[in-house]
Symmetry: C2
Subunit: 281 residues, 2 copies
């Protein structure tokens, strides 16, 4: 702080995992968003990327463009940001605040992982189990039903799976976080690993508020909803007990030969899903 | 590329210098700016920060928000960006493109420096020489006289002093890049080092196009103009020969006790200057 650059000393034998995300008002959030939640979420999506690579958060850089210096807004934004940062040991190492017509937040987060141990999307093999942490669909439900507090909380203050990601090093064969939706994000693993997958729809843990909702809506939220920031990963069947012991994870299917993602119901019948969330439509 | 994070392996015994800057349309550049120059400058300002810390550029992350996918604009922007990146060995390691009402560019650049050898603003001592690379004032002149090609080039396609910065490790006692103007940026060194300085106005190298201009304008451009991206540094007098041998550097004054910055003419008379460029007026 106070120099042209921040100087960071990585631990001996450590590789760095680095991720950068930009959030633009009107595109990723509405002007009326609660600034505390916005500060939280802006960092959370980056910490979730670090979690998916198995890295321990160390530092982050914040670029912030805002229309005017509104003290209360800034204070709430900072509260949300730094509470989450502190909870996960991430230190603000530098950045830049500027004025611009709308709010833009750009965060670069840097974590550490023992050299060669970072989790990627490329290691899934036929026969591996497919796992997911927590439950899915709540964040997407909140887009349609913002009046449900539990769903709204999933959408606006996601909790990145930072501790779990680090525990998965050496266990998981591939890992990603669920930001675009289960089908899309598993699709990224399948593509990079050059494999297919078969999921049991009934095994997929569904967020509480989805109970009793219309089945087509449930399915859409669970399979295609984004923003859950759970970890979706694969692991050899031999690791099943070790992974189960981590808690808060559910086995939802298996990796198979081929390139297709198939989701089936209890009778083995295909369950339709949409994928292909596009960041730049 | 293709994973949630980029995985970077720092060299053994290396520290990382990291800098992050955000450029916002309407604030840092006009909508009509040449996209090639914009791509160049967006990276140049970050490479200049790395230079000021004595680091060798390694990686950068790009966040880009643009109103629409204009192929020609994007191609020119990328040309400017990657030409400069390639010239200095910086590799695009990740990033994010999104849509937003105006152009916002956020770059995080990461360089390497042997552990403990990074240049800072804090090491200037009374008796040290004050040095600057190249010549000053051209970029500021271009704001007033955009019709002068040489000045315009200084403003729009600054050349970061990447090689010089690395050569200054072990020689300079403090270093900064001239982004806000000589008086302001030297002020940062003085404040952090808790010293004062006395500069000889006549010794300060002035950009060619300033020749023959009104003296008040010259003075303002040279002492208070920003955006030159030259290196401003201090060094013990014992290093004078080694530094002179680096070429393209000029000794412009000395560090003294106190906290004041004094600029004097050939007769020892004070030369007035403005400082205090404010990034958030």
């Amino acid at each position: 702080v106070g120099d042209d650059c921040a100087t960071l000393l990585p631990g001996a034998g450590m590789e760095l995992s680095v991720t950068a995300d930009m959030l633009v008002e009107g595109r990723h959030f509405l002007p009326a968003v609660d600034p505390r939640a916005l500060g939280h979420k802006a960092l959370a999506v980056n910490l979730s990327d670090l979690a998916a690579s198995g890295a321990a958060p160390r530092w982050f850089f914040l670029g912030l463009s805002i229309p005017r210096a509104d003290e209360r807004w800034l204070q709430a934004f900072a509260d949300g940001l730094f509470s989450l940062a502190q909870a996960h040991g991430a230190e603000l190492a530098g950045g830049d605040t500027t004025r611009g017509p709308q709010v833009v937040i750009s965060i670069t987060a840097i974590g550490e992982v023992p050299a060669g141990k970072a989790l990627t999307r490329a290691g899934a093999r036929p026969g591996d189990d497919v796992w997911v942490s927590g439950a899915l669909g709540g964040a997407a439900l909140a887009l349609m039903h913002p009046e449900i507090p539990e769903a709204s909380q999933r959408l606006h203050t996601p909790q990145p799976r930072v501790a779990l990601g680090q525990k998965l090093r050496g266990l998981a064969s591939a890992c990603i976080d669920v930001s675009d939706g289960l089908a899309s994000d598993l699709g990224h693993i399948l593509e990079r690993s050059q494999v297919g997958a078969r999921l049991s729809y009934e095994s997929i843990p569904k967020d509480g508020p989805l109970k009793g909702m219309d089945e087509a809506l449930r399915r859409r939220c669970v399979l295609s909803g984004g923003d859950d920031y759970e970890l979706l990963f694969t692991a050899p069947a031999a690791q099943r007990k070790s992974i189960q012991a981590l808690g808060e994870v559910t086995r939802i299917g298996e990796i198979v030969d081929g390139a297709a993602l198939e989701v089936v119901d209890g009778k083995g019948k295909p369950v339709p899903y949409e994928s292909g969330f596009n960041h730049f439509p």
